[in-house]
């Protein structure tokens, strides 16, 4: 057994008694012991639970005070509010809606405490009051979902539907591009009346109607949640559109075939670096104008 295998099995706890004894006499084992000993010097500083709780308590109190400062008037108002509330409740659907602008990102929680992160220029809505009966979420744009274990709901986009069962995945629904990436668990994708089950570390993609499946690397979160935008063989037009979303700039393209496929990653937090990333591979030059406009042109011009 080679060194790496010994270490792996030691960590997994799958060495036999005999193998363990052998391993404990190796240089590697001694190195590990020394590392463990030295690591204790980097342990986290102590956390003062009492003091920290006081802090959060003060924040919480400020939130509570807003609700209870009406005192006895509350009881009187309660009946009235209940009547008016009931009228509104029964007369129309209360849709909770969240939207992000260019260069903006946000996070929210669904009624079942599932976590949603929303990328730029996206919109999500769901019926908060009717969640038990209507477990549907409408999505425009791109969102990452980390679903509470045991929970189930549907995500509806203009291109297709994604059915969720306690998993983590990313849904991207932009012009002509519909992509679902499963990070954990299993996800059901309905596209064009066809059902597909998507296991972890795979992605379903439909570009201009063409469907493809891909195994993705074992990242745990989509690129945009790690401040970058990644593309695998997509038309350059998609790259430009995402750039515009991330940086809230308009890009004018001159003399470039925007149908050509592009693979690469640009930073979401450094515009110059991002521009270099998308222009250099295609031999393009760029010019940044004052009014949040960028001109991207081929060298030939």
């Amino acid at each position: 057994m080679d060194k790496d295998t010994y270490i792996r099995k030691w960590v997994e706890g799958s060495l036999t008694e005999e193998e363990r004894k052998i391993f404990e006499h190796t240089e590697d084992f001694k190195s590990i012991a020394k590392i463990d000993s030295a690591l204790s010097n980097f342990s986290a500083p102590p956390f003062d639970v009492v003091a920290e709780y006081e802090k959060i308590n003060r924040t919480r109190d400020r939130q509570i005070i807003k609700f209870t400062s009406f005192g006895p008037i509350l009881k009187l108002a309660a009946v009235l509010i209940l009547a008016i509330g009931a009228y509104f409740y029964f007369s129309r659907d209360q849709l909770k809606s969240v939207e992000t602008l260019a260069a903006q990102k946000t996070e929210l929680w669904l009624p079942d405490s599932s976590f949603v992160a929303l990328n730029s220029q996206s919109q999500i809505s769901f019926d908060e009051n009717n969640w038990e009966l209507e477990r549907k979420v409408n999505l425009n744009g791109e969102g990452y979902f980390k679903v509470t274990k045991g929970s189930q709901f549907d995500i509806i986009t203009s291109a297709g539907t994604v059915t969720v069962v306690g998993t983590a995945f990313n849904v991207k629904s932009r012009n002509e591009l519909f992509e679902v990436t499963c990070f954990e668990g299993l996800v059901k994708v309905i596209y064009n009346h066809q059902e597909t089950m998507l296991p972890a570390n795979t992605a379903f993609r439909a570009i201009q109607g063409t469907v493809s499946f891909n195994n993705i690397t074992t990242e745990l979160l989509p690129g945009w949640m790690r401040a970058e935008s990644t593309f695998r063989s997509v038309p350059f037009s998609q790259v430009i559109e995402e750039f515009e979303r991330q940086y809230d700039h308009q890009v004018e393209v001159r003399g470039v075939d925007t149908d050509q496929l592009f693979s690469g990653t640009f930073s979401n937090s450094n515009m110059d670096l991002a521009l270099k990333t998308i222009s250099i591979p295609l031999n393009l030059t760029y010019q940044i104008l004052d009014n949040k406009k960028i001109i991207l042109s081929s060298d030939k011009n």
Binding site: I7, R8, W10, E12, L39, S40, F47, V49, A227
Partner: protein, 176 residues
């Protein structure tokens, strides 16, 4: 009808007594997680405060048994503004070192210091996920299954991160 004073598990967390209990139960682990993942310069204490503030704000949607999962999901999905994000730096905890024995040679002490620096650098150079998994296991003694739950990944994924981190560190700190 509940005989004891405990709230049933499907009560939501909008209760001060329950909230304080949840803080006592989970804040320390959450702090360690955030410290090892992002380092000392990214205000792990503030991130703990933020996570609990979010829990309170969304308390109607979170039942008591889902609270820990909620807090760690917030911690795992921190979208730290990349512009503000500081380099990962772990602090050397002098308090943990026993008082120096004076019969060690200067050369030995120097070697120890250099080893320590190489180790610190090696830890800081690990990916965030590798580092937090590795340190929670090696320093805090958290079991693989425990860490798997905190990170929302499989036990196998945790083990893989530990032995790849270990191999990387062993390479960087060199022979003893």
């Amino acid at each position: 009808m509940n005989v004891n004073h405990e709230l049933p598990v499907d009560e939501n967390t909008c209760d001060e007594h329950l909230f304080s209990q949840l803080f006592k139960d989970h804040a320390s682990d959450l702090y360690k997680f955030l410290y090892y993942k992002y380092g000392a310069n990214n205000n792990p204490q503030d991130l703990v405060q933020e996570a609990f503030a979010k829990l309170w704000k969304n308390c109607k949607k979170v039942t008591r048994d889902k609270a820990r999962g909620f807090l760690f999901t917030v911690a795992n999905n921190q979208m730290l503004n990349e512009l503000d994000k500081q380099n990962t730096k772990l602090k050397y905890n002098l308090a943990s070192k026993p008082s120096q024995i004076t019969n060690e040679t200067p050369e030995f002490l120097l070697e120890e210091k250099e080893y320590s620096l190489r180790l610190q650098r090696a830890i800081e150079e690990l990916s965030e996920d590798q580092r937090v998994t590795f340190l929670l296991n090696r320093i805090e003694g958290k079991k693989h299954a425990e860490i798997a739950e905190m990170l929302g990944v499989s036990k196998k994924a945790v083990e893989k991160r530990i032995y790849t981190a270990l191999a990387q560190i062993m390479e960087k700190v060199g022979k003893i």
